[in-house]
Amino acid sequence: MKFSSIYKLFLLCIAVTFVVSCVKDDDFDTPDLTDSEPNLTGTEITIGALRDLLIQEQITNGNAALTFEESDLYISGYVISNDQAGNFFEELIIQDTPSNPNTGVRVLIDVSPLFTSFEFGRKVYVPLDGLTVAFGNGVLSLGIRNGNTLEKVAESQLTETVLRSTEVAEITPMPMNISDFDIEKTNLYIRLNDVQFNRDEVLGEGRKTFAAEPEDEFDGERVLESCAEGTSTTFSTSTFADFKAVLLPQGRGTLDGILTLNFFGEEFNVVVNDPSTIVFDNTERCDPTEVDCGLASSTGDNVIFSDFFETQVENQPISGNGWTNYIEAGTETWEAFFDDGSNGSLGISARMGSFLSDDDSSIGWLITPEVNFDAQDGETLEFKTSNSFADGSTLELLFSADWDGNPDNITTATWDILPAAYIVQDDDFFGDWFDSGTVDLSCISGTGHIAWKYVGSGDSDFDGTYELDEIEIRSN
């Protein structure tokens, strides 16, 4: 009967439906992501000028921070931080030029990750209106003012705060020496040539990871040494970094990273975006050689050399008793002192420190008279050390078999480390004195000298003082 008409109706109905009722399918094309150069109308200033405005505000008005209100100023710069590996978090560091930069600034933004929009080398513009500039954690920073602190720009404000240029530049790392570190050079992408990690952190069984050691809290701090200069600095990695469990490289070579300060704004830190910019392909390290007889289980009764410094004159350089007290660099020297306060001496003690000395470099040696190790058996060394905020300065115990006793030849002689001795560490309590342990010297033959060498960090603001006392060399 009406079958044909039913089918027509049926087919028509279905056809109409499928045509009329389309729902967007799940095949979406990649959207057009062509960027265009942002159109900024205000006045551009350099990051250096931004820094000057802040310093001017600090000097003229005594304010720690400068907030831009109703301002049409903006800065531009190139992104040098990369949070892809998680070593930077909610901050963008930008410097003024791709190569040979002068100034850099840190922009605090409550967005993670940032690399997906602001890759390494991307040129960006930052309109300053509404932002506050200050030295946050010691380095030039832009953010939002919250009382006396600088805080992050909200996620919703990101697109108005940091505008992307279409340009992505090749960043040329700026070569720098550790001794040239300066507060004005922070937030810059630098290259350290001929550096290595301290032997205690990368050699032997205790080879450390970047930041996955039990004692690493927030950051893993490692000692980075310059082979050329003999200087060292702190290399810092976040415990949230994806590479925190990667082992530190053991060789020596080139490292590209960002110069910044630690969280407290007190100490220079070098930070990498990720370890691929660390190329330590030279396996010949520049470590001092060691003389290591370990620790002795007992001490003999015979005293070969001893000085408790009780006969020294307070605040005068250590002298007499066969000592060689030598200033290799700077103005500071090993001197006698007495203190019965909380940081007390042991009667009269010896100390050296370059804090606030304004020396570019402070290196001081205190060297014993010659000891003949063939004349007896079972030689041991004991002494005590204490410190006062050692910070970037170091104290080393050294031995030389070939120094001829002439101060002029100290630096050319071969000095080996005596690693068995415990020397006070920066994080030890400043009021305490620490025993060196009974350092075994019995494996040494012939004659030689023992020396305590103080090395400042190169920035006397970050140096401290080491105290030394109760030195005894004994034998059976």
Partner: protein, 948 residues
């Protein structure tokens, strides 16, 4: 409904003393003969159905004598009760019996159609088998539950979908994965699913032993559809915006062939909830050949590919700022709504059914079913990384990004005000976050693409991709169902059934979002503090150690890849007895279930046989028995009692603790033990129909598996974060309560009705709980290893629901009805971990030094949702124009636009005394507040149809 007798009696030899009742049933309008009309002598066991010519006859020496009532009951027609006088040796010929089309029944069918569409909507575990309930049973209570209570997650007797069985042509359709029927696999085929047989609770069912929430058998067999067609169009603002549906059935033709075809399309860019697209097509075909009088062969196939954009539970804070329609899963891309979480189901089913009348009163029905295809659930994977190799050859994975959804907790105002005494800066951030959330709050697709390309637009390794979690099942089912009527009082049913499932489960990259590829590693795998060396870490992070650091593209499997094999062999036997005073039945079942996982990836966290290759084979033996009786006090007063005990294999999902990563079997896994008893009083008079039921149901040794991220694990030391699998075993629960349904036909046009459910669904013990994770070794337990859940309510819909309503039905074929519905006692799904000793324990496993018992009690109080009232209006009109029926049917739900919470859960991130206390105490709202599902506001549904 029960097909007691399919045998035609035309060639029957008459015995002298036999009485004969015969006749012919025709449509009052068209005078067409009506087949399959049920004819029954009231209060007796004598019944039959009409044949293709509309003819029937009941012959017997022992027909009840004297004045009797003949019930004539045809689907879609108004029931007729014809007084007759039966005398031995006499023949009563009723020709013709004119049946009048019951348009309300037609409308009810439309109602079924509208409701079962919603089932596509629901995530697993939320929807009850409402269309099963709707089955022509005119039970007032079930109708209320189906039509009016279903919008609230209401679950009759507190039972999950997995506690009910759905069969199609006698083949069980419940998925072995979670025990639940996948309604999406036959959604939109409502026209051809009108023949349903539903047995409530554990009542006798001819096809299967069934389960406590009832058994529905949907008959999709070409010969069972009445000749004719139907076209309908629906408009709605609930789940879809529009639906067209067309169906044509040939009926049984002269040469013994019958066929049926149906097609439907449902579509919408978004439903009531924002961004929930709906894109579903449905196709059905069935052909049946009556080979001879005793054999018939049917072939049925259906395919319903569908896509649904999903929504999610949101916090009160998000709801207050964005409203109940808020859905964080979507964003605009090129001006189009794009939902990141889409469920796509493509699982065609084909089946072959053989019907054999072995003897006069004996049938054997043998079925073979085959289902294959995929279910895919998409989401954003924001953890794309790159492999970095250092100058000295060490490797690590760099990258990963934050959750990009708008309602991520670090983007909401509460996060910025989480500390005491917020500063003006905090308020500024909170305000900006609020503005951003209110004005936008959706996904920024462009930002995701941008992350995957460089400044010149060249593709980079992926940070973001779209991931599909794919479930690729292939299942063969075969069963044979035996039915025999030994005599007029006794019938016997039995079946033997076998199912074999191979299920492949894997993640695949659905869309690279413009990137070059995705590095298949798990960047969340962290080196524990002190772990030396990155080699260990790079190995740990591998999804497949046999293919390390693979870059995957669109369509590639990644992350996890494993097979599950499940085989079930079962059988049941049942005897049914019908007598004048009492009907009763007894049934028993037994079964054997085996499961095995086969790892196709060797997971870095679980190297070797722990993840790769075959797992231990799990085997479960199940058995059960049930029985029940209907005692007919008089024709008007009936008492119905049912009781049963059976065991059930745990479902596949709850058998392996972390199937995506390893072969670990759940510790302490056992068969579930189900006990059920119910008793009903049924009253039927010409004016009043009522049923009152009391039920008591327990399930013991259930297993439940959950996955979440928590920040508060005690006893592990300072490291307290982990993504965990939470395994609960030995869960005992109890559901008890009462149901009432009553309706009164006050006048021929006005009907009043009332229904109510009053239940209590609680845990009756403290289940065992342990956690596993790739962040720590072995099974982590707390205190005595239990979660103190006893007497907590089992979450899921209101425990109490009441309805009063009325219907007006005009003789002129238009009608309308109004119901008022009151709901109460719905409870939140609690965080189980917070009910273990972990709650009181500090990082070192010791009790918090500031632990306060009274405050703890308050913090752990289970949230009870507010009571609410929903008013629903329904109405329709039908016309008969020539041979066409034309009509419309409309409902407006929640007329008063009542706000209500249908369900919710506590977040697992905070799981101890201090963090929960601190979060709840926050002046500006919790950061990890409870998440809620909100019910729809006022919605409409309008359906227009033509039937011929």
């Amino acid at each position: 409904m029960i097909t007691l007798c399919v045998v035609l009696l035309s060639a029957f030899t008459m015995i002298a003393q036999d009485a004969i009742v015969k006749g012919r049933v025709v449509d009052s309008n068209s005078s067409d003969p009506l087949s399959d009309v049920e004819i029954r002598i009231q209060g007796s066991v004598f019944s039959t159905v009409t044949d293709a010519e509309g003819l029937f006859s009941i012959i017997g020496a022992n027909l009840p004598q004297g004045e009797q009532v003949l019930i004539v009951n045809g689907a879609d027609y108004i029931l007729q009760q014809i007084p007759i006088t039966i005398q031995s040796g006499e023949t009563i010929n009723l020709d013709p019996i004119l049946l009048v089309l019951d348009l309300s029944e037609v409308e009810a069918q439309i109602g079924i159609i509208s409701l079962s569409d919603n089932e596509l909507n629901q995530d697993e575990g939320t929807a009850f088998n409402i269309s099963g309930l709707l089955q022509a049973s005119r039970d007032v209570y079930l109708n209320a539950a189906a039509f009016d209570f279903s919008a609230t997650f209401f679950r009759p007797r507190g039972l999950d979908n997995a506690n009910g069985k759905v069969l199609i042509n006698g083949i069980e359709m419940n998925k072995q994965f979670n025990g639940r029927p996948q309604w999406g696999n036959w959604g939109g085929l409502n026209d051809v699913q009108r023949n349903r047989e539903f047995s409530m609770g554990l009542k006798a069912n001819d096809y299967a032993f069934g389960d406590v929430a009832g058994t529905t058998n949907i008959i999709m067999r070409a010969s069972q559809y009445r000749q004719g067609g139907r076209v309908s169009y629906a408009l709605a603002n609930r789940s879809y915006e529009g639906r067209v549906m067309a169906t044509y059935n040939s009926g049984m033709t002269q040469d013994g062939w019958a066929y049926s075809i149906s097609a439907a399309r449902r579509f919408g860019d978004e439903g009531y909830i924002d961004g929930t697209l709906y894109d579903a097509n449905s196709f059905f075909a069935s052909v049946e050949k009556q080979l001879n009088e005793d054999h018939s062969l049917n072939f049925t196939a259906f395919y319903t590919p569908n896509r649904r954009g999903r929504s999610t539970a949101i916090t009160q804070e998000a709801r207050d700022l964005k409203g109940i329609r808020y859905n964080p899963n979507w964003g605009y891309q090129d001006g189009e709504i794009r939902n990141s979480r889409v469920r796509k189901i493509q699982e065609p089913v084909i089946m072959l059914n053989h019907y054999w009348n072995i003897a006069e009163n004996t049938t054997l029905n043998t079925n073979i079913g085959y289902q294959f295809g995929t279910i895919k659930n998409s989401r954003i994977d924001n953890n794309g990384t790159t492999l970095v190799t250092t100058a000295d050859g060490q490797q690590f994975f760099s990258g990963g990004a934050r959750n990009p959804l708008g309602d991520y907790y670090q983007r909401l105002p509460s996060y910025f005000l989480r500390f005491e005494n917020p500063t003006s800066y905090d308020y500024q951030l909170a305000f900006q976050a609020q503005q951003e959330f209110v004005n936008n709050g959706q996904l920024d697709w462009n930002a995701l693409y941008r992350a995957n390309v460089d400044a010149q637009g060249n593709p980079l390794p992926a940070t973001y991709v779209i991931q599909n979690d794919v479930n690729e099942d292939t299942e063969i089912s075969a069963n044979t169902i035996f039915n025999t009527t030994l005599n007029e009082n006794i019938s016997f049913n039995g079946n033997i059934s076998f199912r074999s499932l191979k299920s492949e489960n894997y993640a695949e990259v659905a869309d690279l979002l413009g990137s070059t590829g995705y590095l298949d590693v798990d960047n969340f795998t962290e080196a524990a503090a002190g772990d030396a060396g990155s080699e260990l870490v790079t190995n740990l992070a591998q999804s497949d150690l046999r293919n390390p650091n693979r870059i995957v593209g669109e369509g590639d499997r990644y992350k996890y890849n494993y097979e599950m094999n499940a085989n079930v062999l079962s059988g049941f036997a049942q005897a049914q007895f019908k007598y004048n005073l009492v009907d009763f039945y007894l049934a028993a079942m037994a079964g054997q279930t085996t499961y095995q996982r086969t790892g196709l990836f060797e997971n870095g966290n679980f190297p070797g046989a722990r993840s790769f290759g075959d797992s231990e084979e799990l085997s479960f033996t199940t058995f059960g028995a049930k029985g029940g009786a209907v005692y007919k006090v008089t024709g008007r007063h009936l008492i119905d009692v049912n009781a049963g005990y059976f065991t059930k294999a745990p479902n596949l999902r709850n058998s392996f603790s972390n199937a995506r990563q390893n072969n670990d079997v759940i510790i302490g896994l056992e068969e579930e033990k189900v006990q059920n008893v119910d008793i009903s009083y049924i009253y039927r008079s010409p004016i009043v129909k009522a049923r009152l039921t009391g039920y008591y149901n327990t399930i013991q040794d259930q297993t439940d598996l959950g996955f979440y991220f928590t920040e508060n694990l005690s006893g592990l030391g300072i490291e307290e974060d982990a993504f965990v699998q939470e395994v609960m075993t030995g869960i005992d629960t109890r559901r008890m309560g009462a149901e009432l349904g009553i309706e009164a036909q006050v006048t021929p046009t006005v009907k009043l009705k009332a229904a109510g459910a009053f239940g209590q669904y609680t845990f009756t013990n403290n289940p065992n709980l342990y956690l596993t994770s790739d962040d720590f070794e072995g099974a982590l337990t707390f205190g005595d290893g239990t979660a103190k859940l006893k007497d907590y309510h089992v979450a899921g819909g209101p425990e109490r629901a009441y309805q009063i309503g009325f219907e007006y039905r005009d003789p002129d074929f238009w009608w309308f009805g109004v119901t008022g519905n009151y709901f109460s006692n719905a409870y939140i799904d609690v965080n189980n971990l917070a009910r273990t000793s972990n709650f009181t324990s500090d990082f070192d496993g010791q009790t918090f030094n500031d632990y306060d018992e009274d405050l703890a009690r308050e913090l752990l109080q289970q949230e009870k949702f507010d009571d609410y009232v929903l008013v629903n209006v329904v109405g329709g009109k039908s016309w008969k124009i020539d041979q066409y029926f034309v009509g419309f049917f409309a409902t407006i739900n929640n007329v008063l636009d009542q706000d209500f919470v249908t369900g919710g859960f506590e977040q697992g991130r905070n799981s101890n005394f201090r963090t929960i206390r601190d979060d709840k105490a926050r002046e500006n709202g919790p950061v990890f507040g409870n998440r809620y599902f909100f019910g729809n506001g006022t919605t409409y549904y309008l359906n227009v149809y033509v039937r011929f």
